[in-house]
Symmetry: C2
Subunit: 344 residues, 2 copies
């Protein structure tokens, strides 16, 4: 064994290390973690999707070597690699199927290729699920026994963990929590996949912008009129900034988003009965410690709790995520740790 990172307590000297890798459309994040989920070394490499998956797995293998150098650890210190990619995938076969943002990587046996590259066993996972497991292991869910994570962004992703059991689904799509229905009416908004009435169709980034634009079109007074008038499209950040600056229309749009989100959360809580619901992603309006983010979160709570069956309200917590963009690689490492434990 090589010298260990000085932050790693001596008592952990024999506990296994884990690598977590999170493949995104732009960057690949790689981390070396100890058994407690502390990151000992970290770096990112560009995905360079167009060069194909063989090139990327080769560079991920080199990336693992770099992690070992950074932390003065030996290859034999690593128990297992956790690898997260976008879905859909065939988890059992370790195959990437046809993710929309990795068109050159379709139908690629990524688990085996990654394992060949680094000479280690690989736990393969959906990236949204891995992020959920990361928050559960080391982030906002670490005090709870079960957690539903909603990731708010252009779309709405999610992950569900019950006990130490990650619900991975029969088709490797992660938990498609953004596609729970909240409005059955024929004229309900449509989401990015043209599905009508889904949570995403009300709370995804396009939906938020769309409601702001519609309010302007209806003649509501707002500082957003300047943005729209300049010929550029309103962004979610414009809405958030206007709301923060006291713009009433923008604030209504944000708070309406919280109310729609609560409808989806009520449904998920009744189906799963979790200890905790955690909200992450870019569309949390500043998130924890930020006045607009906190007001958004409080509105979600206020609109959720009265709709729940009474016994389900007890001890339930609705909180912001804590790990940000690191949740994916941390969770991938956590899932590798879990598989390592289970197979021992």
């Amino acid at each position: 064994m090589g010298n260990r990172n000085p932050f790693l307590p001596l008592s952990d000297a024999e506990s296994p290390l884990l690598v977590g890798i999170d493949v995104g459309g732009t960057n690949i994040k790689l981390g070396l973690l100890d058994d407690q989920g502390r990151t000992l070394a970290y770096h990112t490499i560009p995905t360079e999707e167009e060069k194909g998956p063989n090139d990327a797995t080769r560079r991920m293998g080199l990336g693992i070597e770099q992690l070992l150098q950074q932390s003065c650890a030996a290859p034999s210190d690593i128990a297992r690699v956790g690898l997260a990619t976008p879905g859909p995938m065939d988890l059992e076969a370790g195959m990437l199927l046809n993710p929309g943002n990795l068109p050159q990587w379709w139908d690629f046996p990524i688990r085996q290729r990654m394992s060949d590259e680094c000479g280690l066993p690989v736990r393969y996972a959906n990236d949204a699920n891995a992020a959920a497991y990361g928050e559960y292991w080391r982030g906002a869910g670490s005090q709870f026994h079960s957690m539903v994570l909603l990731t708010l962004g252009t779309g709405i992703g999610g992950g569900i963990i019950v006990g130490d059991h990650l619900i991975e689904g029969a088709h490797g799509c992660g938990s498609e929590c953004g596609h729970v229905l909240i409005d059955p009416s024929d004229d309900a908004p449509r989401d990015t996949l043209e599905k009508s009435g889904s949570l995403e169709a009300f709370c995804g980034a396009y939906a938020v912008v769309g409601r702001a634009q519609a309010a302007l079109d209806e003649g509501h007074q707002s500082s957003l009129a300047k943005v729209a008038g300049s010929g550029t499209e309103i962004t979610p950040l414009d809405v958030a900034q206007a709301a923060e600056a006291g713009d009433q229309m923008a604030r209504h749009v944000v708070m309406d988003t919280a109310e729609y989100l609560a409808l989806g959360i009520v449904t998920l809580i009744h189906a799963i009965d979790p200890d905790s619901v955690v909200l992450g992603g870019a569309m949390t309006f500043g998130g924890a410690g930020h006045p607009l983010g906190e007001a958004f979160l409080q509105r979600v709570r206020d609109q959720t709790l009265p709709r729940l069956l009474q016994p389900l309200r007890k001890t339930l917590r609705i909180e912001f995520a804590q790990l940000g963009g690191d949740a994916g690689y941390i969770g991938a490492a956590g899932l590798a740790r879990l598989e390592h434990q289970q197979l021992q």
Copy 2:
């Protein structure tokens, strides 16, 4: 070991037996099962709720003795008892909390008392969850890796199993699938718990009857007018019988129920991504092999699939439950078997 039931193959002679008990408001079902889930002996006793839980656990203990006599088995042949009751309960503590249909049994340490009574370890479970596990182990879900069960009746209950993992929830209520929201509008119907817009508020027995009555009130022609005109309330059975006899209004009510149910199923599938959705309970309009039941099921399928994300449609099956009222005690025995395996 005593003589074994002749239906038990000799090769199973050393495999453990299991007791499954399902406590309902009226009757308690008790079964002795082998490791494959075959029922070797079965009988029921009245719940006699008013005599309190100590009396009932004593009689359940005697009921286990009777099962052993029926099957010529010895107490030492039984590995574990599975005990299912209505919730809410504290599963970790083995406590029955405050189930609405067992008012004399509130705050009763039922797992320990049952274990004291029979001298065996007891796996305690929510009755809806146990029924779901029963269908998963031995019924409609036995070919699948994951299953969402919806039990259609006065209310709508449910259970979710992923892998061999039953989602029991943080508050021992089972999966409250009947309370997923399908309509957020302020004037949506309310369910038995006065919650607005829930699946149960559209597909529970009262909702079905309510829609039939509303159609009559609006002047729609129907043979149900005779029932309503005689001063008695329409029942779900009346609606089903009229629909079977070709009454168009009644058939519309049944098919509308299928369409509302599909909305809830779409939501549950997106959240969980199961292999199978199984429909049980009294409100399945005759169920499998019955023309109205089959038309109902087909409408559910036809309304569900087009609303699903494309990858989730593959291999998904929507079927009727197979075990009827036996699912609870069979599932309780199955959960006892699972715990026995896990603790060995």
